[in-house]
């Protein structure tokens, strides 16, 4: 017996709205379809009406977890358009925050993976230790989520020696904890039983479907923008690209924990080699007509911004591609022939960050069992009719 189960747009496993429609045969998924658009904010259109500087803060709000990624990707693109070179200290600080953000994002993801697998203790512990990174970020930038540290031509805040020392001290603690989590994630029998061999994505599929980030790296594709196309100061920083050959959720956990270790090393390198000097240069208000493609390795994969200027103080076009969108086609392949129990894990394993759009509500008719997708306008109409028919509240004044 085949039947379709809607997972989302509202579902306990999904923290953001997206609709996965699963065609099931018993406990086995035969097909999956992803519908997007519950969260579309028309940001690319909005960006065309804002100035170069305002757009930093617009792009920062694309995502709550990798806010720095989008802002940095945009900023380094615009700096190329304006032909300005940020000072070295500014670059170092910018990517210090970037690596701290990667640490916080990966720790967050580890916790979410534990929660989706029903391992709440793991979730509580990783999130407790994530607070250490959040505190560092707050100390460096003044904010916990939207750091707002980027500006055109550098960064907005400097750090002093005391802060530097505090970050280095916290790194020791984080390293120890991450090693512990690696031990648990790769050894706890019930957890490994849940994630090993689940959500297989072969190397060929990952290549054909253009998977990015840890999803691709867990399928043994050594793809990392920081290595392939070094931006900022990554050409001078020693680090390795973490890959895994197991092509499953376990591989994605391993890749992320390995990346955590690499990030700690990068942070240590950046702090120990922090050059002196100013943190920012003045940026012009306008950019010459030109176009630029800016790439950035966000915690979830490659961010790419295409920016075109037309000589004014506003962009002609800003195209944003978030890494999660690139991983959706691969997710459908991963879900096929899996179990229902694996849906949250597989879906969480791409670390979804939903920021794209469409509005629909699925209603199931109580009597006939007929399922239909109702448009928002239709739903509003129904609600309006119902409101009209409601006898008592009809004459009430809104708000009550």
């Amino acid at each position: 017996m085949k039947f379709t189960v809607p997972i989302g747009p509202q579902h306990p496993a999904l923290k953001e709205p997206i609709s996965l429609r699963m065609t099931l045969e018993g406990e086995v998924i035969r097909d999956a379809d992803i519908r997007l658009g519950y969260n579309h904010r028309g940001l690319e259109k909005l960006a065309e009406e804002k100035t170069w500087l305002q757009n930093i803060y617009v792009t920062e709000r694309i995502c709550g977890i990798c806010s720095h990624s989008h802002a940095t990707c945009y900023t380094q693109g615009v700096e190329k358009l304006m032909e300005i070179e940020p000072p070295k200290r500014g670059i170092y600080l910018r990517f210090l925050v970037a690596e701290l953000e990667r640490v916080h994002s990966h720790l967050l993801w580890l916790g979410v993976a534990g929660h989706e697998a029903g391992f709440d203790t793991f979730f509580m512990y990783t999130w407790r230790d994530r607070e250490v990174v959040m505190d560092i970020l707050e100390m460096v930038s003044g904010n916990r989520v939207h750091y707002a540290i980027n500006t055109l031509g550098g960064v907005r805040r400097d750090i002093d020696d005391l802060q530097k020392k505090k970050i280095l001290d916290s790194l020791d603690f984080l390293r120890r904890r991450s090693e512990f989590y690696f031990k648990i994630g790769a050894n706890e029998p019930s957890f490994v039983a849940r994630i090993a061999g689940v959500g297989r994505l072969s190397k060929e599929d990952a290549l054909a479907l253009c998977a990015v980030g840890p999803t691709a790296r867990a399928s043994d594709i050594s793809q990392d923008v920081r290595k392939d196309d070094p931006y900022g100061m990554y050409a001078e920083v020693p680090f390795e690209v973490a890959t895994a050959t197991s092509c499953d959720v376990l591989g994605r956990v391993v890749v992320r924990v390995k990346e955590l270790m690499q990030s700690y090393n990068i942070i240590e390198f950046l702090l120990k080699n922090l050059p002196d000097g100013p943190v920012a240069v003045r940026a012009p208000r306008r950019a010459k007509p030109n176009e630029v493609v800016s790439r950035y390795e966000a915690p979830r994969g490659e961010n790419i911004h295409y920016i075109k200027s037309n000589g004014t103080d506003k962009p002609e076009r800003l195209k944003v591609r978030a890494p999660t969108l690139a991983n959706y086609p691969a997710t459908v392949v991963m879900l096929r022939n899996g179990f229902i129990a694996d849906i949250p894990l597989i879906f969480a394993a791409i670390d979804p960050c939903i920021c794209c759009a469409e509005r629909a509500v699925v209603l199931v008719d109580g009597r006939s069992g007929e399922e239909k997708i109702v448009l928002m306008s239709e739903l509003r109409k129904q609600a309006h009719e119902r409101w009209k028919k409601a006898p008592l509240k009809k004459d009430a004044v809104w708000p009550f």
Binding site: A208, D229, E291, V293, I304, K319, R321, A326, A330, L375
Partner: protein
């Protein structure tokens, strides 16, 4: 394989199909082909130059025509394949036959610019709501959003 080698090889393989090519920065190549040669060019890029990964597809409203930019990347470089279609007849061939991972970007292109992607495997809307009025394409330059006047139920007029 560096940028000049890639450009040389692409020119050799595609011949006069390459309309213009530039290399404004390290690891950034911009190349232009005619829209009818697009599929062939993508095939060559994928098979012979290793550009199997399409990062995204950007659309651009250039007044008279639409410009479509396919952003490819491999381990050595980043290549942007540009093509143009007239606004009066906005048809472009789907590249999903060569690179299946491009499907979502092509659907987004259809939504946002009103381009028609021929032979696309799945032409449903991606980001716009299902009750979005037909003929409205948000990222076209002449499209302006008009917010409907807000009506509060029970409000005194």
């Amino acid at each position: 394989m560096n940028d000049t080698e890639i450009i040389e090889k692409a020119k050799a393989l595609l011949g006069d199909k390459v309309l213009e090519v530039s290399n404004p920065a390290l690891r950034r190549i911009f190349m232009k082909v005619d829209s009818k040669d697009l599929l062939k060019a993508v095939q060559v890029l994928k098979d012979d130059l290793g550009f199997a990964y399409v990062a995204t597809i950007s659309g651009l409203d250039g007044g008279e025509d639409f410009e479509i930019i396919y952003h490819f990347a491999n381990a050595f470089s980043q290549l942007n394949l540009r093509t143009q279609v007239p606004k009066t007849n906005p048809h472009v061939e789907s590249i999903c036959a060569v690179i299946p991972g491009a499907i979502l970007y092509e659907r987004e292109l259809q939504d946002m610019f009103g381009l028609v992607v021929d032979h696309i495997p799945d032409s449903r809307r991606l980001v716009l709501p299902d009750d979005w009025p037909a003929g409205n394409y948000p990222l076209r330059k002449d499209w302006k959003y008009e917010r409907p006047p807000e009506k509060i139920p029970g409000e005194k007029s």
